[in-house]
């Protein structure tokens, strides 16, 4: 016995920022961005809060699952971008949904959704929760230096949600961390204490692209091997690889090294950019809406992020 995803939802801000618009702001071009990242546009917040996006995604998932507020007994949010440092995004979303159950945030960077699935699995299979609402929401646009053309073109905002309950879809899950504080980081606020010596003035997301790329591709290849070995299956049994939509180059290199066909790697990064932990649940919701995933399909999901964290799972869709 494990868990299944009963329903999904997504919330994307209304403004669509194109590469051409970005080219007016920084020294870049549509051709450069598309060829190096696969991104044509991304959704960015203008008057929406991250809580708004999370609530939209959650309401959609709850409606599809036929669930009311009182049916949810745990909210898990994965985020690095809550509107408040405290209360948590989970509490903020819970406030607007009228939920009165335990609520907590998980910060595992871009691997957050897989970490949330792992925690939800633990709660459901031990009988401590029946229906878990997972919301993975990110407002990456407030973390980027909009003057740095290397990073400001990569990210977008959005939230994905799902309702998790008892089932048999999840066949394998593994989360991990290989602690590293220099390849990918975003420093937090340090306040104005006159006694603290380590103040940070402004902080923006820093990323060593080469190291992150290498970590991601190596990890995906290794975790596919681990997953299929653990399940006694082969890559032929995997119908779709739902990978964290960080950069199209990571996806194509992983696909190339796995020697698997492109058709197994659905991607929506062209219109979302990198939304950190929101990418997989948003992709999943779009695929389900389009009827692309059917019962019995074997999905390998994998995400990787700052920490360095990573999480992979195999679900046979129920």
């Amino acid at each position: 016995m494990s868990i299944k995803i009963l329903a999904t939802g997504r919330g994307l801000p209304k403004k669509i920022l194109t590469n051409d618009e970005l080219s007016i702001m920084v020294d870049t071009s549509d051709e450069w961005i598309k060829s190096r990242t696969g991104i044509s546009s991304r959704h960015i917040c203008t008057d929406e809060t991250l809580t708004d996006l999370g609530v939209t995604a959650a309401k959609s998932a709850m409606a599809k699952a036929g669930m009311k507020a009182e049916d949810i007994d745990l909210i898990l949010c994965s985020t690095i971008s809550g509107d408040y440092t405290t209360p948590s995004l989970a509490c903020a979303v819970g406030f607007y949904l009228g939920l009165k159950c335990p609520a907590m945030d998980i910060n595992a960077a871009c691997a957050g959704f897989t970490y949330a699935l792992d925690v939800a699995d633990a709660y459901v299979t031990t009988g401590r929760a029946k229906n878990v609402l997972i919301v993975s929401g990110e407002m990456m646009t407030k973390h980027m230096d909009w003057k740095d053309r290397n990073t400001c073109v990569l990210f977008g905002d959005g939230a994905g949600a799902c309702i998790v309950t008892k089932g048999n879809a999840l066949r394998y899950i593994k989360i991990l961390a290989e602690p590293n504080l220099s390849h990918l980081y975003l420093e937090g606020k340090t306040g104005n204490s006159p006694f603290y010596h380590k103040q940070v003035r402004e902080s923006y997301l820093y990323m060593d692209g080469q190291e992150v790329f290498k970590f991601a591709v190596t990890m995906i290849e290794r975790e596919v091997k681990n997953a299929v070995a653990a399940l006694g299956i082969t890559k032929d049994d995997i119908d779709y690889y739902l990978l964290h939509q960080a950069n199209k180059r990571i996806l194509t290199t992983a696909q190339d090294r796995l020697k698997e066909p492109e058709s197994k790697f659905p991607s929506n990064i062209h219109h979302t950019g990198n939304m950190s932990s929101a990418t997989i649940p948003v992709l999943l919701d779009e695929l389900l809406e389009a009827g692309k995933i059917k019962k019995g399909d074997t999905l390998f999901m994998s995400a990787f992020g700052a920490g360095m964290t990573a999480g992979s799972c195999v679900m046979v869709w129920e």
């Binding site: 190096r36 080469q210 790329f213 290498k214 591709v217 190596t218 180059r249």
Partner: protein
């Protein structure tokens, strides 16, 4: 010879089979960006069974050959 094998791998990766590639050839000449260099380094790691430390100072074919020789 190491250089010849690296050049062969480079030609296969870039498709530039007719290009005259030497130790002075830069990755920019080969129209390779920073992620191409990592991907190439990973292929070389697999082929030569070495571990390559990535660095933004790997700018030419010669730089890459030196790193591999040091790692072997």
């Amino acid at each position: 010879m190491l250089l010849e094998r690296i050049i062969a791998t480079l030609k296969e990766y870039t498709g530039k089979n007719d290009m005259n590639i030497t130790t002075d050839t830069s990755f920019e000449d080969l129209e390779m960006d920073s992620l191409d260099i990592v991907e190439l380094a990973m292929k070389i790691e697999d082929e030569f069974n070495v571990n390559i430390e990535m660095s933004e100072n790997i700018k030419t074919v010669g730089d890459l050959v030196k790193i591999i020789e040091q790692a072997s």
